[in-house]
Amino acid sequence: MAVYVVKRLLQAIPVVLGVSIITFVLMILVPGDPAQKLLGQRASPEAVQELRTRLGLNDPPVQQYLRIMRNVVTGDLGRSIVTRERVLTEIRNRFPVTLKLAVLAMAFSTVVGVGVGVLCALNQNRFIDRFLMFVTLTGISVPVFWYALIAILLVVFQLRWVPQTGIGDGSLRYFLLPAFVLGTRASAFIARITRSNMLEVIRQDYIRTAHAKGLPERTVTVKHALRNILIPVVTVIGLDLASFIDGAFLTEYVFNIPGMGRYGLGALLDRDLPVMIPLVIYTATLYILANLLVDLLYGVIDPRIRYD
């Protein structure tokens, strides 16, 4: 098992490198110049060139990339070229905010998703099933930006359940609505996956056997059926968690939450490569770790799975 984990982590290195190189190349190719953006329209072309030189943007791309990567490897991460703030300081401030949001969103989407999925499967083709499946379809299709705005207008400004948008004093209640909005789409996915897998499982012989043994309905559902659909469901949840921690760009933007998503969005718009590259590496690492975690969980869920 330890060997397996180490092997997987070693495999991750080329992936992370590849992702960082692709991002770097794309950012170099995309039009837009951070020096020009910093200087605004007052600047003469000479002034822009001068600033580019000072920021190291005129150095050969390979050299620029290596400079950023050296910062990443040494753990220093360097500074933003727009705010001159340390990237490490920003990540330290923002990660807890995003993590809090992500954990809440995941808890919400898992409980609601699995619950709805099971309920629908047990009531296949009845009204409740059709109704809830319609709701989940809506949850998947609705544009997040619009949905978030409507949710804010209703919950914050009509019902006044929280006094304002943003994170206020940082207490939990400010995170509930954004977590709900962020988790909606995921919960709809989880519900649909749970339902379809559940439908397959409850037609299996061992479920019929369990019923025949006279086990209570509840025991059959939870212990015999649910446990056997966990593998696909956990896979989806794992990837969702990675995408949540990655920082929900739109949700954080609309709700004015100072997390990783806002940071990444700002860096992208500013072409702030010394911020972009560490963030992309962070994202790639998150997905790799989430995948690894999911794979390890398989073994817990299904003891027949071995890691050699």
């Binding site: 072309p45 943003g166 004015n256 806002r262």
Partner: protein, 503 residues
């Protein structure tokens, strides 16, 4: 003390993005400049009621007869927020820090363009101080110019020329700036921030011009206008801009009537025509384009009809604004005749560059429509703002829609940058007489002497149609009942919140 110690409380405001910096040397934007004015002071500042520059940290300014030597006598009781007294050394240090290539400030032009003696040698690294900036004694600074420069005191009121503490700024490590520990002399002290969430200021009890009435300012970053509007209506904000979609409703709503503020901005929005691109090098073609566009329709449509139609470079609110300039009329028939005369009876094809801002897209699409009515087939190329600027400055955009906002309150700022300095690069425009007039005007100390020259230059520019003028913007905001003293000032860094009172 006259203050009776009323608990005034905190002013709650919103910004739509975070401040990129809290260091004057890097404050290139409107938001950052506005914040710098709260935390720091310049030798000069804008008068709260007009666009005149008045002494600020300088108690008084002496000028020699040919306006090349300025002696600034500083207030003696000024301290930085950490208690350290401000002296003439800090002034010299701040200016040299801005100019120092190692600082890598994007705003060196603020001092470079004024022609201070010895700046060039300093910037080139030949000497290690600017000899034209002299510390006469602890409270006196003398600045010498190579030649008279009329806008010198305006430049000293700009955010980049605000004074920073030498004992702190000289200790910064490489790549560091004052944003982490912004200590100035200004009316408000920095009290903390969470980036992308909020920023707090508290009143400077020891401010040399007297403590502000309010106890502090709590700024929240709220990205969406509509959300900010709802926050205001829920009582969470003391003032807010009005979202464009609601503007007419709010302006006409009697409930807001006595709390509505409007500011005629010192700004102009224009549709530029690049003379390096055929057939835009023909003035008849440019005039035809101007005649083809129903500019009032653009103002009535995307701009809610609340802005002022622009006919010339200098906006109202600045000396030099000329109401007598004959507007180019909306005349599609005449435009077609002119095009035929210029050899394009069937029109031609052209490319318009625009940013992705919603309103800008609406405007360029209207322009595209009006041009099609006279046979000009235009395509629109939508790019990010930075990309547009980059290409416009490099002269690669055939036609583009942009705006210009004042750095300081003098018409020179609307004529020289756009029609002499970068004008040539952006749209291949040059008129030697215009350059000559402005060269002459900038050495004249008295505004009343400069204005006739500005106006002559303006008439020549309007004749040449380098751009089609569209609008002078008016901005609107509302304040909470009983909040007074927020300035409707056209210069972005004029308000230091010294007059603000809460109910």
């Amino acid at each position: 003390m006259l203050s009776l110690g009323f608990a005034q409380g905190i002013l709650n405001l919103r910004n739509n993005t975070d401040w990129e910096t809290l260091d004057p040397a890097f404050a290139a934007g409107v938001d950052t400049g506005d914040m710098v004015a709260k935390i720091y002071d310049g030798l000069m500042r804008y008068d709260y009621e007009s666009t005149d520059v008045v002494p600020n940290l300088a108690e008084r300014v002496e000028v020699n007869d040919d306006a090349t030597v300025f002696t600034f006598h500083l207030h003696r009781d000024v301290t930085f927020h950490d208690g350290h007294p401000l002296t003439a050394r800090d002034v010299k240090f701040s200016f040299e820090r801005l100019l120092d290539p190692d600082t890598a400030s994007p705003l060196t032009w603020v001092l470079e363009d004024t022609g201070i003696v010895g700046v060039e040698e300093f910037v080139n690294g030949d000497v290690d101080e600017v000899i034209g900036i002299e510390v006469v004694d602890d409270y006196t600074v003398r600045i010498s110019l190579l030649r008279p420069y009329a806008m010198f005191l305006h430049h000293l009121a700009m955010p980049a020329a605000h004074i920073v503490p030498e004992h702190i700024a000289s200790q910064l490590g490489p790549g560091e700036d004052l944003s982490g520990n912004p200590i100035g002399t200004g009316p408000f002290k920095f009290a903390g921030r969470v980036r992308d969430s909020h920023l707090d200021l508290v009143a400077n009890e020891d401010y040399f011009a007297g403590r502000p009435h309010i106890d502090g300012v709590h700024y929240r970053i709220i990205t969406e206008d509509l959300i900010a509007w709802e926050e205001f209506n829920a009582g969470n904000l003391d003032a807010v801009g009005i979202p464009s979609a609601l503007l007419l409703d709010v302006i006409n709503d009697p409930a807001y009537a006595d709390r509505l503020h409007s500011t005629e901005e010192l700004a102009v929005f224009y549709f530029a025509l690049n003379q390096r691109v055929e057939p835009l090098n023909d003035v008849r073609v440019r005039r035809a384009i101007a005649m083809a566009i129903d500019r009032q329709a653009i103002i009535d449509g995307p701009y809610n009809g609340t802005d002022k139609l622009a006919n010339a470079p200098i906006p109202p609110g600045l000396a030099g604004y000329d109401e007598s300039i004959e507007p180019i009329p909306y005349d599609p028939e005449g435009a077609r005749r002119l095009l035929a005369e210029a050899g394009y009876p069937n029109g031609f094809e052209m490319e318009i560059w625009s940013t992705r801002a919603e309103t800008t897209i609406a405007v360029t699409e209207l322009i595209q429509f009006f041009l099609s009515e006279v046979g000009i087939r235009a395509t629109i190329n939508q790019v990010d703002f930075g990309v547009l600027i980059e290409n416009a400055i490099a002269g690669r955009a055939p036609a583009f829609y942009l705006s210009w906002f004042a750095d300081y309150a003098d018409a020179y700022n609307f004529l020289h940058p756009l029609y002499v300095a970068t004008g040539a690069q952006r749209y291949g425009y040059s008129n030697p007489r215009v350059a000559e007039l402005l060269e002459e005007a900038k050495t004249m100390a008295e505004l009343e002497d400069r204005v006739p020259l500005y106006q002559e230059a303006q008439r020549l520019i309007v004749e040449d149609v380098p751009v089609v003028y569209i609008r002078y913007p008016v901005s609107y905001s509302v304040v909470r009942e009983g909040v007074t003293g927020l300035l409707d000032h056209p210069i972005f860094n004029a308000d230091k919140f010294m007059l603000v009172q809460l109910p």
